[in-house]
Assembly symmetry: C2
Homo-oligomer: 505 residues x 2
């Protein structure tokens, strides 16, 4: 009887995997189209690309929502006891995605996609003109769509939780609030003391760094930290990103001769994402076992490389000679200490994407407060500009001069991406926790980094995080990797350890 059931399940399970393979493969094609759109697309070809992407989304939806898929899932769920843990993981995630795909009416999806596409342009125009009023009705409708989506999927009473869960499965607004409340006071205190220090980084030394030599230096760094260029590329786009899967990973950066650290650290950041992608189990790339957990874990990977590892003393002990060799003229008057301070500069800045790693989290706390208010109804869209300014003064310590530098600065809400921002800060917390766990497991970590040896770090990350795919959620994964619950303490400890000697020593 058991044997019979197992065979039945294996067959059904194999059918499920074969269908998922087509779905994920179609997604990889859609991803390539999107990469090409941002890297290569001729300007007048955008309409055709929208049509191509629309067709692929339609085909993907059809492939995924065939009635058999529901039958297979029902059958496998009915035979739960005979499934392996891995099979259960695949069924659970596929059920979630399947229900989301089936429960949203086609008209809702089409109407929203059309609205979203127009909203993006309304947002871009409003930011350029510093004109929130023109954007307000678009954002109101976007928020209404977001609430309706949660309702359609049965999360009507917990609409904000739904959107947080969408980006970081298992996370809730209450949980985030608790973590952020614990972070806020000590972080504001630390950043104020750094910003008030008499010692400050001088970024004016970075002038005239030729793009092709930046590219050369970055290539050396990425190869050493472990991006696999035999199954990935680094190209140029307006905004850096990482896309693709373990079989073909495409990341981008951008070059500014007067800001070489931007290209360098954005490339390292994307490489953190990419190494996660490249170390996910290749053979499972067409099912949930080979997918990333969510945005918080993804950000923990990019931030760990960008900040903890690659802004460290040992890292620069290793790479400073090559950096100086590549830019000997430009760096001739800059001392090692000045360079290292510039790499770890802290500045009060109204713009999140330009913020350093100390003040960055304050920007997230602000957005979380506003999103909570938007979803519980205590903040209306019309109130956002003023609420933004007040919170910015309270949390970040400055008032943006206008809405372009304030409520209009981020693209996320214009794309309907509510509940995404918290993941950035949760990722920073997790990165710091991983950093200390890594040091415990690899006591000579600094020697590795100082010798330009990163294989042991990558292996540790594969073992602790990457190989698990979606088997565990953010909390469980953090516990398993670090022995502790996700929390702000490690982040605060790390920031103090790194920045106090530089600014408060």
């Amino acid at each position: 009887m058991v044997a019979h059931r197992t065979i039945m399940n294996e067959t059904t399970y194999d059918k499920l995997l074969a269908r998922l393979r087509r779905v994920y493969l179609l997604e990889s094609v859609a991803g390539l189209l999107s990469w090409d759109e941002q890297v290569n697309l001729p300007p007048a070809s955008a309409g055709q690309r929208a049509d191509q992407s629309g067709l692929l989304a339609d085909l993907r939806h059809r492939e995924f929502t065939v009635p058999e898929m529901g039958e297979w899932l029902d059958g496998l769920e009915g035979e739960d006891a005979s499934l392996t843990d891995d099979q259960r993981t695949v069924v659970r995630w596929t059920r979630r995605d399947y229900d989301r795909a089936r429960k949203l009416p086609a008209k809702f999806v089409t109407d929203r996609a059309e609205h979203q596409s127009k909203t993006f342009h309304a947002w871009a125009a409003a930011r350029k003109a510093d004109d929130f009023a023109s954007y307000m009705p678009w954002l109101e409708k976007t928020l209404a769509f977001a609430k309706e989506e949660a309702g359609l999927l049965g999360w009507g009473e917990r609409a904000y939780d739904y959107h947080i869960d969408l980006h970081d499965p298992g996370m809730t607004a209450d949980r985030v609030a608790g973590l952020f409340d614990a972070l806020r006071g000590p972080l504001v205190e630390l950043s104020e003391s750094i910003l008030g220090s008499s010692r400050q980084a001088d970024l004016s030394v970075f002038r005239g760094f030729p793009n092709d030599r930046q590219r050369e230096f970055i290539q050396s760094v990425l190869e050493k930290i472990g991006f696999d260029f035999t199954r990935g590329r680094l190209d140029v786009s307006l905004h850096p990103f990482c896309s693709g899967d373990a079989a073909d990973t495409r990341m981008t950066t951008r070059f500014d001769p007067d800001n070489p650290l931007d290209a360098l650290f954005s490339s390292i950041h994307e490489t953190g994402h990419a190494i996660y992608g490249q170390q996910l189990p290749l053979e499972d790339r067409f099912n949930p076992l080979g997918q990333p957990v969510g945005m918080a874990v993804h950000e923990s990977q990019s931030r760990l490389w960008e900040n903890q590892i690659c802004r460290s003393r040992p890292f620069w002990n290793h790479f400073e000679p090559l950096f100086r060799e590549t830019f000997s003229e430009q760096l001739s008057a800059v001392s090692s200490e000045e360079l290292y301070l510039a790499i770890n500069a802290v500045h009060r800045n109204p713009i999140r994407v330009d913020a350093d790693e100390v003040t960055y989290n304050l920007h997230i706390l602000l957005r979380f407060e506003l999103e909570k208010g938007l979803f519980d109804g205590s903040i209306a869209v019309a109130d956002l500009p003023e609420a933004w300014k007040e919170l910015s003064r309270d949390i970040i310590g400055l008032t943006p001069r206008n809405d372009a530098e304030g409520v209009l600065q981020d693209v996320h809400w214009s794309g309907g991406a509510f509940g995404y921002f918290p993941s950035y800060c949760l990722g920073n917390m997790m990165a710091a926790q991983l950093w200390y766990a890594l040091r415990d497991d690899l006591p000579d970590l600094d020697d590795h980094i100082g010798a330009g040896q990163f294989a042991a770090i990558r292996d540790w990350l594969r073992e602790k995080i990457h190989r698990h795919g979606r088997r565990f959620d953010t909390d469980e994964l953090t516990r398993r990797a670090t022995g502790g619950a996700l929390g702000p303490e490690a982040l605060l400890r790390y920031l103090k350890e790194r920045y106090a000697p530089l600014y408060l020593g």
Copy 2:
């Protein structure tokens, strides 16, 4: 009654167009994947790309061969009298493609695809090792597949005609034989007298032309002759090609510092293809009215720009100053006459793709004889190497030193592309005929070219060729554009007019 029938047909016709839109859009996605494969793909990502392309081919086949498609075609063919000429054109071509897609069994298509993919690698290895014997069984099976395909589609008695028709609809082996027979004698005579001339081009002057400056110069030329970079790109790949459609045209070239004319003229050649593509009716790009006629017409476009227009005196009168400005050092000791002779160099060469425009056609005559023999059974695959050498001596005037320089030099047969080669020579004939018709219609053609003005040429080509899409076949299109039947006379006249003054004057 008529009104009713028209409405019925319009409805059915619209359904047909809507379905074709999805099919062509999927093809455009497959085309982008193929472009990316040759331009960008990381080496270890090739397996994933094959999977993606296979899935798209499967989806395209499913979209195209739904049973309704057959019903719509039956219905529209039954109401033929009520269709417009354009509708009839769309139905006719769609019927051809639909029958071809339906009549080939899935297993045949899969088996052949698998064989073809392996054969390509067998060919590449054999060419590298100059080892025809290892490749022979692969080619034999490829030929068997080609004959079987023709049989499955009802062309069993005329298998070679089927393959010629596949690349150049309406053309037959007998027709090609008649045209080539008329060309051969005079062309051999002309090329022998040029090759025997005491005056010869010196290509050794082209050394050390930096790639980035080649790129700059080429960009200027292509912009002026009229490639629309707002809906197209030029990139780098191992073998130059042009892909995409009117909405997004991607062409490639390759750079060699010691052979700047290769990048220049291959870019111009691809631009000839691209201008055809970009001037096809954009609104019909998802149906046969917006498709190119076939390979012969396509080659006539690339060759007209590459040879007749861009190797002409007036063209170089206009561009020589910019060429010299871009490469002032490299060209300092080269006179205008030496430069112009180098641009129109004629050399005896065993390799087709390295041949000049005079001897190039001889290479095609050779391949046509062999393909005829392979399909009528008078030449076995095992006999190919010797047959190649004999024909090469007779037609081209040299015997290749080995098979790598002989029967193994071309990729076409390894991909199953029989019947493709004749199109190159037919295209050259048509290009010359278009050149004289263009001169008749635009008596000050040389002044246009000499002034760097190409809009009138593009307009003439749009009017005579491009706007018609697939409405007329190669013969009919040639008659309409030039007033004469497709033939070798104009090509011979043109070659004499261009080359006699240079070599025999």
